[in-house]
Amino acid sequence: MPETLKETTPDPTVEATAAPVPAAAAGKPRSLWSDAWHDLRRSPLFVVSAILIVFLLVMAVFPGLFTGADPRYADLAHHYLQKPKWGNFFQEDWFGYDIQGRSIYARVVYGARASIMVAVVVTVLVTVLGTVVGMLAGYFGGWIDTILSRVTDIFFGVPFILGAMVVLTSFAERHIWVVILALAFLGWTQIARVARGSVLTIKQADYVMAAKALGASTTRILLRHILPNAIAPVIVVATIALGGYISAEATLSFLGIGLAEPTVSWGVDISSGQEQLRNAAFVLIIPSVMVSITVLAFIMLGDAVRNALDPKLR
């Protein structure tokens, strides 16, 4: 080693401050989630779907903001299948009246609550149950995995709608919670599979090994290291599935085994609207369009979130 370059270890602090790294130069700490959020805000897909979803959620929580009309008030004498008045924005007669003379606009607004509540609550239940099952199976492996995965497979093998039909027909009274529990009971398997796969990958990571080497407890490893890193694909799947539960509720209601009158829901209205398909198609089409828009909004949101969280872009 020539004497001219006597430089030994650079003064560590000087080195670190003198030559900041790429991102460090950018300043603030940026977590993966804040990076994802940064991406999301710039994604038109996300902006459109988020506006739609916020709009729908407000409608579900405060239907009174959108209409003063009562969705259950029937005026057969005056409004029997009266056609929509497309110019009367946000008025009682905007979307016309159904066969019992009830305002379709009011029913669409109030129907959002049941439809969205079913979907949201089912999604939450399914995500929690699926994540727990998938995480335990994936992390512990062995006989725990064998048992949990077989159970998952059995549930997965049941066709979703058919299964829901079988379960629901065994209940005399189909309260909204019955529908929710039936859907959740059958729907968690997809999440469980995704979570298990995700955990299987994450548990190989060196940082999990590092935590074990430090003597971290299993609970700590699962909650601090595995869960936060394994959850991203679960969230994506859950968001997309949420749209699916809205259409599942509509399908079951349409078949007459989901929600039923007097509950106001889009599915219920689609079901009753089908009888007038020939002479007053709008009675069927309007709630159907609402279902489609909502499902689409959640699928778009899921896609946007997936793009933002895609590790390949990181």
Partner: protein, 380 residues
């Protein structure tokens, strides 16, 4: 494991008898683990360590159809304050040794004595105390740090797991001190790993390893994922820390030049067995095992003139599968010296007979029936 019994397990006449401690209670075990060890005394003693990974078939009813013999009976000592380098190619079991010493994997057989305590048999509080004293630095700085946690959380987690090391109020300051020690700006405490370069991440990994004031750090390829110009920085840092904190390193790597630079002693592994072990001069300048010689001669040297005078031994073929290793000497299928004896008799890791009397540097442990000295590193 019938297979195991057929082969004679390496007798290790040159490894000192282990002074075991029989702790009756957990408290005694913890006390034994926390006792200091004098410089130059063995701090970690590995005896006939074996790890077989079972190969299974079937989904519901698994049955074992074989085993990958990742580590198949190795013994060595790590002395306080020294760096023991372990070299070998992929699949030789060197990373499994690291995991066994960290008790991240359960040994199939054999013992690892840390201050006289067999850590393969410990659990609970005593094991946690051992873990505080044996830490690890991982190969890949990109996967060894949890991307969802800040640097402060990553290093600070060690104190959450071992709260007795630092009281709650002091933790943040301790983390900042550690960042300073490894040459990072303490203000970076709230940043996330992806905001750092590979070299800086490895410094974070080292800070985490240092946090508990361990006595031993096991380094599994700590610089192989880094750029050449950054490798030297990290190596220098590790040497500085060793002096400062009186650490013992077990330095596992495939880069023979770096291992020579940092190690006091070097062990060469091949297919789960130790082929040769000795001081760095003994191994690099006076290798006696043909595998070591081939390995050294194959290293591309960044000096065309030096290279032209060197003899190059190009081995044929690949490393055999550890699931089905050759009988006798594991290296015989690629060895140019192999004879019938090599297929039937497992060579023991011992100082070869012919060198035993003399005082040459070739007199170090080598597991070859036909050990002879050959300088392959220096130009002829």
């Amino acid at each position: 494991m019938a297979e195991l019994k057929k082969e004679p397990v390496d007798a290790t006449p040159n490894v000192a008898e282990v002074g075991t401690v029989n702790a009756a209670t957990e408290a005694e075990a913890v006390a034994a683990v926390d006792a200091p060890v004098a410089q130059g005394e063995p701090i970690l003693q590995v005896r006939n360590l074996v790890k077989h990974f079972p190969l299974t078939q079937g989904i519901l009813f698994k049955k074992q159809v074989g085993a990958v013999k990742a580590v198949d009976g190795i013994s060595f000592d790590l002395y306080a304050g020294e760096t023991l380098g372990i070299v070998g190619e992929s699949g030789c079991g060197k990373s499994t040794v690291a995991k066994l010493l960290m008790t991240l994997e359960r040994a199939t057989a054999g013992e690892v004595f840390y201050k006289g305590q067999d850590i393969t048999k410990l659990s609970g509080r005593a094991l946690k105390a051992v873990r505080r004293n044996i830490q690890m630095v991982f190969q890949d700085p990109y996967t060894s740090l949890n991307p969802r946690m800040t640097v402060g959380d990553i290093i600070g987690e060690t104190f959450e797991i071992h709260p007795e090391v630092a009281p709650k109020g002091e933790r943040r300051r301790k983390v900042q001190d550690l960042l300073d020690v490894v040459g990072l700006n303490p203000e970076y405490i709230n940043r996330y790993p992806h905001q750092f370069s590979g070299g800086q991440r490895q410094r974070i990994g080292i800070a985490r390893g240092l946090a508990l004031n361990p006595e031993i750090i096991i380094c599994d390829e700590p610089v192989s994922a880094l750029d050449v110009s950054v490798q030297a920085q990290v190596i220098n840092l590790m040497e500085k820390l060793q002096d400062e904190f009186n650490l013992s390193y077990l330095f596992i790597a495939h880069d023979l030049s770096i291992v020579r630079h940092i190690s006091d002693r070097v062990g060469v592994m091949y297919l789960g067995k130790m082929a040769e072990i000795g001081t760095d001069t003994q191994i690099y300048d006076h290798p006696t095992h043909p595998y070591t010689q081939a390995l050294l001669s194959a290293v591309p040297v960044p000096d065309p003139d030096a290279r032209e005078g060197r003899e190059r031994i190009i081995l044929s073929g690949d490393v055999p599968s550890p699931a089905n290793p050759p009988s006798g000497c594991r290296f015989r299928t690629r060895c140019w010296k192999a004879q019938d004896k090599c297929a039937t008799e497992v060579p023991l890791l011992a100082v070869p007979e012919r060198f035993r009397a003399s005082d040459t540097p070739a007199a170090h442990e080598s597991a070859c029936h036909f050990a002879e000295e050959k300088d392959v590193v220096h130009a002829a």
